[in-house]
């Protein structure tokens, strides 16, 4: 028998079987089969078995015998159980048990085992009650094979036959147990049996067993693990072997499958599929870019967009920044209130020496995030404009070369008690007329600022207009639903005579030319102001004269009328899309511009047809003015934009100027100088230079020249001014909405600008 073939695991299983043996010894009355299912089982046991079997496969005879030997030994011992002698301990056991745990652990392990064995032995008695022998002691415990912890908190461990509780014993406390161990010399032999709640004394026999186990020997002295092999089978007279089968052929020839496998391997080696100890490849270095001259090759893939370089650190990232870069504690605290994305990522800190810099927490994380950026962020080539913002501004011609233009406030005309809504300059430029919300129309001398004449209309004056003819100094005034034609009283006697004649109306003029509708306008003689009163059926917002002074137009929210100075009234014969806002005559031809809220429509009055529509693109048009040449129109809007239309160019604006933050109230062209102006509710007036070239290829030149300030935003009624009771609420409202500069007009000959403010002042700006 080849013992050297035994591996350590066999010895382990050895030890286990010894334990089993021990159990068998402990309870001789029971057969071993009833033992095995107990909870005492080592996990190595089932695993090691196959190894044993494998061994036995190689040499079938010997394994079998070994097993037999065990069993034999076991049964033999059980027979001689009563024998207590342990004299014959076998010699070289220490060698064979070397794989077992050390002595110490073994000891602990054994004590536990002994306890367990005891308990189980006792247990067994209970379980095996059926085939009980006479000296059996019934277990105290009657709860059965259930976990003891279920009874942990109970005072009993089951019930006896009488149905009374079997009480648990009082547990000894430490002191008692110590005293007991001191008093009783045999106390160390006692083991507490938890199941039955009693103490059991280990007998001498058991003690011996344990001792042998502790030494790592077989529990029984008589057991010889290396007994010589006895072949129980009698071979002497046997005629036939155990098996009569002939020896198979495969025992005599080389394995086919092995050779096949070998052939396969050989083939694989020959083909180079299997390479033995392939040398590890070293990285080869060579000039990858050559001499750089040959690398003019063009990549055939998409253009590479290099990743933006990480931002270089500023002063604040220094380990020792200037003190001013370090935020104060309050500032750091205030960062907490910020949104996450606004919060500064890096808070500067100062270390006074290089050695005191701590490790940076986010070093790896920063690099990782950069990696993520590199391969996950979409890249796009963006043009970054790295220019001085000033270079964006267009180069304007020097303003010195564009002089003269109004620059400074030269005169103020004071006298109105409420916002001045409109002004008009007389053709000679000597006088101006102004209409105000306080219901007066005044005429001022331009050069002195003297108020020459005052008419009290009684209603808020929306618009005033001088007749453009020098010899016909008539003033058209719109107030409420009326338009008044007033005789200013200028001019010599002949002229006055003419005017008086003109301003006389035969009162019964009821049957109008246009009989399809009712009288749109009724011509009345106004005796109080010595003029004509034209009563409209709606409020009139503005009045405009034709250049010849013979016609004038009035604008109502509803429609446009065209009264003749021959006391004829004509509604314009075109269809307007939307409400008219303002209207002007062409300065040289019989063309008429009407602006609705969105567009400007151009009509030929002579041929009575629609010419074109100017598309402003504005939200709400407020005013319109025509260049004295007649080909260019400017349109102001309520959103503060000013559109310049070149009529020859297109119907779209040639240029849109966004100059005012608030509504534009009026725009004006100078009659002779290349100037135009806009005034707005933001209390400013802009003066622009606008040259129109006779060469059609050249676009008009527009240069902003000056911002004129001076008007205040309060509307003219000061605290001292009490509103006359005659004013209706409606006028309050109107005046309430009057801000800033309400009107602007150029002087006909000088580069001067008059502005009428809602603060009841008229200003004259001179160059």
């Amino acid at each position: 028998m080849d013992f050297s073939g035994f591996s350590e695991e066999i010895y382990l299983s050895f030890a286990i079987s010894i334990l089993l043996l021990l159990l068998v010894l402990e309870s001789p009355w029971s057969n071993s089969a009833s033992w095995l299912p107990l909870d005492f089982c080592l996990p190595t046991l089932p695993e090691r078995r196959p190894a044993l079997m494998g061994d036995s496969e190689v040499e079938p005879g010997s394994g079998q015998h070994q097993k037999l030997c065990f069993l034999g030994g076991c049964s033999g011992e059980s027979l001689s159980e009563s024998e207590a002698s342990q004299s014959g301990s076998s010699g070289d056991e220490s060698n064979s048990y070397r794989a077992l745990p050390t002595q110490r652990t073994m000891m602990a392990w054994t004590t536990v085992m002994v306890k367990k064995i005891k308990v189980m032995a006792l247990n067994n008695e209970g379980v095996e009650e059926s085939d009980s022998s006479e000296d059996e002691v019934a277990p105290r415990n009657t709860i059965g094979d259930v976990p003891l912890e279920w009874y942990k908190d109970e005072t009993h461990i089951g019930y006896d036959l009488a149905g009374k509780k079997i009480k648990k014993k009082e547990r000894q406390d430490k002191l008692d147990s110590f005293l007991a161990s001191a008093d009783d010399s045999k106390n160390w032999l006692k083991v507490y049996d938890e199941y039955n709640d009693e103490e059991v004394e280990v007998t001498r026999q058991e003690l011996k067993l344990v001792r042998r186990l502790l030494k790592g020997k077989a529990p029984h002295a008589d057991f010889d693990p290396y007994a010589s092999y006895v072949d129980w089978f009698k071979w002497d007279d046997a005629k036939h072997p155990l098996s009569n089968a002939p020896e198979p052929k495969r025992r005599f020839i080389p394995s086919k499958w092995e050779s096949k496998k070998v052939v396969k391997l050989v083939r694989a080696i020959r083909l180079g599929l299997i390479k033995f100890d392939k040398p590890k490849e070293e990285q080869r270095f060579y000039p990858l870019w050559g001499d750089d001259s040959s690398s003019a090759e063009k990549a055939n893939h998409l253009a590479y967009i290099p990743a933006p370089k990480p931002k270089l650190p500023g002063h604040e990232e220094s380990y020792n920044p200037s003190l001013e870069y370090i935020p104060t504690q309050e500032e750091i605290n205030s960062y907490q209130l910020m949104y996450d994305e606004d919060r500064p990522k890096f808070i500067p800190k100062r270390y006074t020496s290089l050695r005191s810099i701590p490790a940076y927490d986010n070093g790896v994380k920063d690099v990782f995030e950069r990696c993520l950026d590199l391969y996950l962020c979409p890249r796009v080539r963006k043009k970054r404009i790295n220019i001085d913002p000033e270079s964006l501004k267009p180069k304007l011609p020097s303003r010195k070369d564009l002089k003269p233009y109004p620059v400074t406030c030269y005169l103020e005309y004071k006298g109105h008690k409420d916002a001045v809504m409109s002004i008009s300059v007389e053709a000679s430029g000597q006088w101006i007329a102004s209409g105000s919300l306080d219901g007066t129309v005044r005429i001022w001398e331009v050069e002195t600022g003297r108020c020459l004449r005052v008419w009290d209309i009684g209603e808020a004056v929306k618009s005033v207009a001088w007749n453009p003819l020098n010899e016909l100094p008539v003033l058209a005034v719109s107030a409420g639903r009326d338009v008044l034609l007033l005789n200013t009283g200028f001019g010599d006697d002949e002229e006055q005579k003419k005017i008086r004649e003109l301003l006389r109306v035969e009162t019964p003029q009821a049957p109008d030319d246009s009989d399809n509708k009712g009288p749109v306008v009724s011509w009345l003689q106004d005796d109080k102001h010595d003029g004509i009163r034209l009563r409209h059926f709606k409020t009139v917002s503005s009045v405009e004269w034709h250049r010849k002074g013979d016609y004038f137009s009035t604008v109502m929210p509803a429609d446009i009328l065209l009264p003749l100075s021959k006391k004829h009234t004509q509604r314009i014969p075109f269809k307007l899309h939307g409400l008219p806002v303002s209207a002007v005559f062409h300065p040289t031809r019989s063309i008429f511009f009407v602006s609705t809220k969105k567009n400007v429509r151009v009509y030929d009055l002579w041929q009575q047809k629609f010419i074109k529509k100017l598309e402003t693109g504005l939200r709400e048009v407020s005013c319109i003015a025509v260049h004295p040449g007649g080909d260019n129109v400017i349109v102001g809007s309520r959103e503060g934009k000013l559109c310049w239309f070149d009529m020859d160019l297109s119907s779209q604006p040639y240029r849109i100027l966004k100059c005012h933050p608030k509504d534009l109230t009026n725009v004006a062209f100078h009659r002779s100088y290349p100037l135009f102006a806009s005034c707005s509710e933001d209390c400013t007036a802009y003066v622009f230079h606008g040259t129109v070239y006779s060469d059609l290829n050249q676009n008009p030149l527009i240069v902003p020249l000056e911002i004129l300030r001076g008007h205040t935003s309060s509307n003219g009624r000061g605290e001292s001014f009490s509103t006359p009771s005659s004013y209706s609420l409606c006028w309050h409202l109107i005046s309430f909405f009057c801000y800033g500069v309400m009107d602007c007009k150029f002087h006909p000959r000088q580069p001067w600008l008059f502005t009428a403010g809602a603060d009841s002042v008229i200003k004259l700006y001179c160059h």
Partner: protein, 623 residues
Amino acid sequence: MVKHYRPPGKKKEGNAARYITRSQAVKHLQVTLPLFRRLCILKGVFPREPKKKMKGNHHTYYHVKDIAFLQHEPLLEIFRDKRAYEKKIKKAESKKNPDLANRLRTRIPTYKLDRIIRERYPKFVDALRDLDDCLTMVHLFATLPALEREKLEVERIHNCRRLSHEWQAYISRSHKLRKVFISVKGIYYQHVEIIFVDGLYIFVLYVLFKAEVEGQKVTWLTPHALQQVLPDDDVDFNVMLTFVEVYETLLTFVNYHLYHSINVKYPPILDPGLEALAADLYALSRYFDASSRTPVVDPHDPSIFGSEQVETQQKGTPPDESELRLAQLQHQLPSNEPGALMRLVEDVTDEDEEDEDTVECKKLFKDLKLFLSREVPRESLLFVIPAFGGVVSWEGEGAPFKEADQSITHQIVDRPTQGHIFLSREYIQPQWVYDCVNARIILPTESYMVGRVPPPHLSPFVDNDAEGYVPEYAETIKRLQSAARNEVLPLPGIGKEDLEDPQKLLVEGIIDRAEANEAAERKRKMILEQNRYLDELKMEVIGTTTSDDKQSISKEMEAREASDPDIQRIVQDHANMSKVVMSRNKRKLYEAMEIGKKRKQSHVDLLKERKRKIAAAQKSVES
């Protein structure tokens, strides 16, 4: 058929045909997402931003050509093979066949990335352009600990370390380091690589032109020599390792190229003794010396041997004598090594190819001999000081010279007090070196003495004038710089060879530059004066117009007082005037720029405010 006819849903055009989303790409390539990412990183493929995103904003889009580029990549096939092998290994292992598993493991397909590097960077300049991230990453990995859990292998880290040292050695050797900045995050270095395009030879009347491409600035960050903080979960090391894989290959070839450009063999073979002492940089510099000593020097240069003999016999006459001595000190070449100083000849021949800047940098620490105490960051200083022509040694084995050396001029110390003091040298804090480097002058050492709080360390990357705020110390440095430049005026006692010296020319250039600066300064002042005068004029004009209004003198005075905002308004008006005529787009752009400007200004104001407060606090403490 009409050219543009297509059945609905059959073929796409425009952005829809040109871009695909990531998941489409993954499906198209039949790879897993991690593999796709890996491929993208290796190949340098990145998502692009289509003008119109047909699948919505929450997708990433790749160009179809990029994906096709990936599809035709041989690496893809290798990765598939690898995967197959991994499966085989797994199978063998689960069948308990370790032999097979091991054999398979040795035969897993490997790949090399040099072709990809060449593809991604067709020219050396391209490689240099993308080197920033590469260097930062490699330097970071050189300081990381090997971690099995994160698959950080020891070899990889050693390789990174080696590469970073090789790179630093080259920079130091070629004196191309320009700026150094110690931040809280680590130390930033910037170097300028000037590339001569050799391909552009133009023969016109037998004249050879050499075109110079602008210097490529490479900036990288090295962490402080401290234990790195490894984040727990929010860092995916797989991604980083893929990047490192590319970067290692890239840096290897870049190093190769650079080493060969100065006639040194690559990969360097280092003295194992020095390597063991963790003095890799020094070992590399020794290697440089050794390799330049041998054959690569121009054979027709007659002064190779002559200069050495001169050096050994008499000291003084040859032009490169000081350099010879300097090198001898720096490297402490053992006397038994014959011809140890021959490498210098090469340096001399190189001289005319170097630009002004390099020459300036090379001379910065020329006459200084520095010694590092053991507590200062040795690696960084050993890199920086030789890069600016200084001689440096450190405390420890293998150092070129010991602390007791009497010729040491500066000792760099970073401790509260210095015990034993040699009177012949100055004891300074390490920041002095970095500040000198950034200012390009030798700064006075008083404020950097041991135990003092050094002056603020300023970033060399900031253009103070553009930023609008100049820290106080920057002004001090500027003054010192201009003072130093005035001093460098040619002294009468210097011999003829100095006149031929390129450095002399450089000095002249500097003077010219200084003069130009002064002139510019004067001009600016004049303009300022003019503006002020104009403003005053305006004030007067407005004063008179208001007084025109027949108002009393007192009112006029008031008006004068009130005219201050008026002037501002006028200036504002003038600014606004041309804004009126601007087109809408330009106006919007202008306004955006104004906002940016305002933000910048507010930052500057904040700094000024803080500074004022600090000054006030100091004053109150003093009084």
